[in-house]
Symmetry: C2
Subunit: 121 residues, 2 copies
């Protein structure tokens, strides 16, 4: 089985973090992991927002988050458990993740209040 | 001549900002524009860091920054003048750009102090 690779804290880059979080699905996954105090199972992200996410796509998203240093994954039996590395990143780039998460929440709030839900025809 | 398109403030997204700033060259260009109080000329970015940036690549980088809502460009004669939209973005996503720029400066400081300049052979 392929080993799970996590970058050392010193090798985490701002550009890598921004790239990983520039995708709406990934950012939603990461926000949920960051909000959750404990490890979460990959399978709990098979629906993100209102979208079903194929398992292979989900694996790829987790790999990008892991490579950027945002999450730490661990195989537990047949499951993959993930937890955020927010606390570590905070020591190198204080305030960065908090500011991004706050901005995303502000944006989600605006979207929820401003736009009535539309169905595409 | 193709018109320069700038998104309305309400159409600027966090994901768009993060994507635009996830490229090292673009982030360097944007930091310099944000640091500069006044409009800057595209041509002053033909060298970024120690790299020469081809004019066509530079145009593409400015387009991405413009589309993300990070800069406002204006044609003045044969030149393109650019200024940051930090103040506008601050009203929608307070602290976001400041946190990103601070993290990038911390990273640049670490790199400058930790690594002796290497030549690739």
């Amino acid at each position: 089985m392929k080993p799970l690779v996590h970058p050392a804290l010193d090798d985490i880059t701002v550009e890598g973090i921004l790239h990983a979080l520039s995708d709406p699905t990934r950012v939603e996954i990461f926000s949920r992991i960051a909000d959750s105090g404990c490890s979460t199972n990959c399978a709990s992200y098979l629906t993100v927002g209102e979208k079903a996410v194929p398992k292979s796509t989900l694996s790829q998203h987790f790999k990008v988050l892991r490579d950027a240093g945002l999450v730490r994954s661990e195989r537990v039996g047949v499951e993959m458990q993930n937890r955020s590395r927010c606390a570590e990143i905070e020591t190198r780039f204080p305030g960065l993740l908090a500011a991004i998460i706050a901005a995303l929440k502000a944006q989600a709030g605006e979207r929820a209040s401003a736009r009535p839900r539309k169905k595409r025809s």
